[in-house]
Amino acid sequence: MDTISALGLILLIAMVLVGGQQGFQAFLSLLFNFGALFFAVVLIAFHFPPLVVTLITGVIVLALTVFLGGKDNASTQIAFFASAAVLLILVLVIVPIEHWAVVPGFGPEDSDDLEQMSLVLGINFLEVAMATAILSTLGAIAEAAMAISAGLAEILDQHPKITLSRLRGAGLKVGTQIIGTTFNTLFFGFFGGFLALFIWFAGVHYSLGQIINDKIFVAELLMVLFSMVGVILTIPLTTWLMTMQEAKKRKMNN
């Protein structure tokens, strides 16, 4: 058996032992997400427009992650709509900033990997960079939206008569609680993924000026920042949708 299958099998068993049915769903969502991502790569390589492919993949991935991960229906739906809305707003943030920073493709640090490769590609790699940035935020958006909608659903469950403005305040409070640890997840996730690059910088004695203008470093840091923007935006949006839904429900009951 090769290493990937062995690790995958261990993960599957652990997930099912710990989470039962839900654990199995979590594993499925990981598997489907991989499928969606790989499919997106293939479509872009077949010259489908990267941004369109990314948007469609993004919505599918958010749906898979939220609906396979969530439990209670009403709050799960809110989480999906909120995360999809954040995805759209993020695209409007990411496209102009990536256009400004211009971090497409590969940097001088990649030249070893590019040897013997044809770089006649005919695909706009600036758009590929935007697609990469958008896709890398998806998990974080979905997680934040689920955490906040679940937190608010719990509050509504325990205090069904809570006023709408207090519910709004509670959403912000839940958000403030999760933001610190979520930022940590993002920080370590990204920097763990690019440890080798930083070691390279230190080993080759890049100056601070070189680092903060380096294509790969800026591309990477922008991805962390976009994910952070996504998580922050998720907090008020999810809270707002949740309050809207509650207001509608109360009106109907009266």
Binding site: D110, N124, I179, F198, V218, V229
Partner: protein, 374 residues
């Protein structure tokens, strides 16, 4: 957080955002701080545009542009310069330049004629501006809590850089020791900021360290047992030292944040539960812990999966366009990211029972028979 009871004045938010804005403005005009000459592009002219094809029937265009501009810093300040730049329209490893961009120049000869080429684009302003956007959103929406989150990331970044420098100093011989120690330090520092110095912090700390260590340990064992079949370290990017320990250090750091996040959540909920019902049994602690953990572990694994694997997109497209098979492309570009996600995933899942076990043994969930006698 105790300080939260202090009222956060509205003008402080405005002040932080305004000062941040001024810093971004400063970065936009910091050319004087750089040693390399910087040119502000004032005019762009396309000289030639040729069709390119390769042996895989890919088509692209090579464009040569003449860029005219003024040097804005150093000894050549004020000098008008003209340079040429050739790029492929796909811009995979070359770049198109536009008017009013600032670029770094490499000067080749200065005796008779000034000859220069562009080395790179000046990107610090766009980066500073995005950092400012994040800070403004944080402080605007969450005031003190937002500022703390931002500060904690900055502190972690500084610590991280110190460790990277130290690792370079030792030629990478101690990579696992250094980053393992760093992980413990990170965890202690972050948790004492987020939770404070108390028993809950200690339990979360222990859970995080054990969970992350266990994931790395399992990875090592699986690597051994499977002979690292299908692990292509030669495809690892930017490697300047022994790949296996470096990869393990990456996997460890990568999962640390998520494991910490999860441990914080589960233990906080279990503590609240214990406070509400002091006579709760160890068995019930396990059951509630599994319920809470089971809900958050799936989304967390996905967070890391997208971070690790989305990064590989450009390289994967390059491989596919070079007529490589899907399987080979996956092995050479995405597989290490997937392996890293799987290792982190195992850590995240195992953290659930570890958190329950540590909580029930340190908080003293009552064994069933005592509860029964009551």
């Amino acid at each position: 957080m105790k300080t939260k009871r202090l009222r956060w004045p509205g003008w402080l938010t405005v002040l932080i955002i305004a000062v941040g804005g001024l810093i971004v403005l400063g970065v936009a005009h910091d050319d004087g701080l750089y040693k390399n000459p910087i040119m502000k592009i004032t005019a762009v002219k396309t000289i030639s545009s040729d069709k390119l094809t390769d042996q895989y029937q890919n088509a692209d265009r090579a464009v040569t542009q003449q860029l005219t501009g003024v040097i804005t810093n150093g000894q050549y300040r004020g000098k008008r310069v003209s340079v040429t730049n050739t790029y492929n329209v796909s811009q995979a490893n070359s770049q198109q330049y536009r008017r009013s961009q600032r670029v770094f120049l490499t000067v080749h000869s200065t005796n008779h004629k000034f000859v220069a080429t562009i080395s790179d684009l000046k990107r610090d302003t766009s980066m500073a501006m995005t950092v400012w956007l994040v800070l403004s959103l944080l402080v605007g929406l969450m005031q003190f809590g937002g500022l703390m989150a931002f500060t904690s990331v900055l502190a972690n970044g500084a610590l991280f850089w110190v460790a990277v420098r130290w690792n370079a100093h030792t030629q990478g011989a101690l990579v696992l020791t250094i980053f393992g120690g760093l992980a413990i330090l990170f965890t202690a520092m972050t948790l004492s900021i987020v939770i404070g110095l108390n028993k809950q912090m200690l339990m979360t700390f222990l859970t995080t360290v054990v969970g992350t260590a266990l994931a790395v340990l399992i990875a090592v064992v699986v690597f051994q047992l499977t002979n690292r079949k299908g692990v292509y370290f030669e495809s690892m990017q930017y490697v300047t030292q022994l790949p296996l320990p470096l990869f393990l250090a990456e996997a460890m750091l990568g999962s640390l944040g998520a494991v910490m996040d999860e441990a914080t959540d589960i233990i906080a909920s279990l503590m609240a539960l214990k406070e509400e019902r002091p006579d709760i049994s160890a068995h019930q602690i396990f059951r509630s812990g599994r319920e809470i953990g089971g809900e958050i572990m799936g989304p967390l694994v996905n967070v890391l999966f997208f971070i690790f694997v989305a990064d590989t997109l450009p390289m994967a497209i390059l491989f596919l366009k070079n007529a490589n098979s899907w399987g080979y492309t996956f092995n050479m570009t995405m597989s290490l990211g997937v392996i890293q996600s799987l290792i982190s995933g195992i850590g995240i899942v195992l953290t659930v029972p570890i958190a329950c076990w540590i909580t029930s043994s340190l908080m003293g969930g009552l064994p069933r028979w005592i509860q029964f006698r009551r």
